[in-house]
Amino acid sequence: MKILLFICGEGLGHTGRCLSLGKDFLAAGHEVNFGAYGYSKELVIKSGYSAYEIPSEIRLAGESGTFDIRKSIKETLNNISPSGFRKILRLIEELDPDVVLSDGYYSGILAAQIRKVPVYFIGHQFNMEEFFQKKGLFVGAAGKFARRFYNHIFSSVDGIIVPDYPLPYSVNRKNFTISRNINSNIFFSGPLIRCRYREAEEKSFRHPNVLSTIGAFGYRAAIFRNVIEAAKLDPDIHYTFISGPEIDPEQFPEIPGNVEFTGFTDNPFPYYRSSDLVITAGGHGTIMESLAFGLPVLSFPDEKHREQENNAAVLEEAGYGKRMSYLTPPEVILACIREVLEDESYSKKTRRLMELAEVLDGPAAVRKFLEGKYKA
């Protein structure tokens, strides 16, 4: 089977799960091509694969802890060009895939449909119009348009792959609002993680160790300061910070002895494997990675970012961790860390999710799902 994987390059969540799929398909003898852009493309190449350059679609913009939807729409519209779309059409024609998988990359879906190639949407969020609610007339109108557009996409693709645990364990359940009337071929694969627990190397950390993976957005730096302050309050809890590419550890002059910075790394999995708790934003990819490695999560969703807020709310309700806020002061962050470390019900639940991720084996499940439909 020839597979073409299109990746949305905003954040690295889409890339991580596409790499997990690519790895599994290649190992099973299928031919895989990636279409990516920006840092996402670099990560594909660093992982040892080649990638075709595709134009970027959605641009996320924001500052100091909030996500600016108006600015993001403007930058997105500036980015879409007819020549870019023609490039995607040409790529599909040249590669002639049996199936196109598009992770959050909508131009890839439209182009595949024009070229009459079966296409599957990979995504964890289906209520994008909520994104646009209560944000003024301009953004509201964009929301209505977006709703129609997304409904068209979801109903016209050959299937939808949701890289999350099936119900009732789905972390994205508050963002999953489509019914089988829109598309009858919806498949919850289980997490799509680049590295399995048993494949990850173990680090010799002192325990308890808290891993902070607050990623690539500069505007999240404020959380760093609060977590570092929390670290100063109790030297018996150790911290490892994986900082995004836009964060320079030098910015933080007073680092306590119980805090270690790894700098930016493409391979966070040894850190997951060797930690007891993850502090992250509310991104679906990192939450899936943490849970698949059996770790409870303290989630700081980006403010006004409904999808992340919903993910964080599910973490809290299901007892997989806690929903935090930019306003949570260091003393309370420490209290939450202690609670989650001390109350075994959290780790008991997340260990269950780790085992479930192993059993479901998301990448293999997606491969088998497609192999069943398109014989090699």
Binding site: Y165, P166, L167
Partner: protein, 379 residues
């Protein structure tokens, strides 16, 4: 006192709770007549009571895990008998009851109102119009009409009996949206279950044991296949799957050794009592039965059936069990079963509900209410 009990025959839930009430009233020396149709009437008769045939009101139609709203409305309209009203009127005139009790059978309420006989509605749902949301214009219009109709009915009944735990334990609470002025009329009786926990004998089932009560309507069949696959994944957990009268177990070729497949059982209560987990759709009565026996539930609500989805959501939120979906694969069903078996929290919560059901004694509470309101103990 002479009491006439009418029941909606869609699913056996209404019947089951009417039988619970009838048994209690008969034991106290009251005179009872049942009005029922279809399987529901058969069940009343099999239980040893006489039932008058009444016309059916609602027909449910569905396929592959979803309830087909447009199809159900069409079937209901085609099925509506023009002479239904007069027939029910005549039955009531003939029996001359002091009180009419109607479990979601609305023709009898209208007839009782016409005949000026006190009428008590049993229902676990006041938001029927939700059923019609997002389902196209003609269906929505029907939804508006339905809303008006129910509003009138609720106002004209003497009391509305909710066969569920009082708040905050009410499982159907997301389906109740009565106008504030009706609050005085509401009576939360506690579960109406045909058998009391202490009346039911334990049977010897291999432990841990899961009983699945999903059966009846054909669109639930996919869950059967999944339950068989789930059972095959872990031979250490034992299952009794009750298929219901419409399913033929011979269709299932390979049945794992840890599964006992039963087509229909007259009495599910010994199985509920002797199991550790109940698997059920999202119907209110089965949920009440499991909870009043202190057994946690895995609920598979019918897709698009908002009443069942709401019940299941409360089960999940309150920690009485878990809400699953038709898309939940066997590996995950197994995980849910293990979780509910291993995590003592579920058992603690449902045992509390078992005690509460015994203390509330729903059938007795309703009998006392009817006796008090009509001023008669035994006729």
């Amino acid at each position: 006192m002479r009491i006439m009990i009418f029941m909606c025959g869609e699913g056996l839930g209404h019947t089951s709770r009417c039988l619970a009430l009838g048994k209690e009233l008969l034991a106290a020396g009251h005179e009872i007549e049942f009005g029922a149709y279809g399987y529901s009437k058969d069940l009343v008769e099999k239980t040893g009571y006489r039932a008058q045939e009444i016309p059916s009101e609602i027909k449910l139609v569905g396929k592959a895990g979803g309830l087909d709203m447009a199809g159900s409305i069409e079937a209901t309209l085609k099925n509506a008998q023009l002479l239904g009203g007069p027939k029910v009127l005549k039955l009531i005139r003939d029996f001359k009851p002091d009180v009419v009790v109607s479990d979601s059978y609305y023709l009898s309420i209208l007839a009782a109102i016409v005949l000026k006989i006190p009428v008590y509605l049993i229902t676990n749902q006041s938001n029927m119009e939700e059923f019609f949301k997002n389902r196209g214009v003609p269906i929505r219009l029907l939804g508006e009409l339905t809303k008006k109709f129910y509003k009138e009915v609720f106002e004209k009944t003497d009391k509305i009996i909710i066969p569920d735990y009082p708040l905050p334990y009410t499982v159907c609470r997301k389906n109740l949206n009565f106008a504030p002025k009706l609050r005085e009329k509401l009576f939360y009786s506690g579960p109406l279950v045909r058998k009391k926990y202490e009346e039911v004998d334990r049977i010897s089932l291999e432990k841990p044991h899961v009983v699945s009560l999903i059966g009846g309507l054909g669109y639930r069949e996919p869950i059967f296949w999944k339950m068989l696959t789930t059972a095959a994944l872990d031979p250490g957990i034992n299952y009794t799957l009750i298929s219901g009268p419409n399913l033929d177990p011979s269709k299932f070729m390979e049945i794992p050794k840890n599964v006992q497949l039963l087509r229909f059982i007259e009495d599910p209560f010994p199985y509920i009592r002797s199991s550790d987990v109940v698997i059920a759709p999202g119907g209110h009565s089965t949920i009440m039965e499991a909870l009043s026996f202190g057994i946690p539930i895995l609920s598979f609500p019918d897709e698009g059936h908002s009443e069942q989805e709401n019940n299941a959501a409360v089960i999940e939120e309150e920690g009485y069990g878990r809400m699953l979906s038709y898309s939940t694969p066997p590996e995950v069903i197994l995980e849910c079963i293990r979780e509910v078996l291993e995590d003592q929290k579920y058992r603690n919560k449902v045992e509390r509900l078992q005690r509460l059901a015994a203390e509330l004694d729903g059938p007795k509470a309703i009998r006392e209410l009817l006796e008090k309101e009509s001023g008669k103990k035994v006729s």
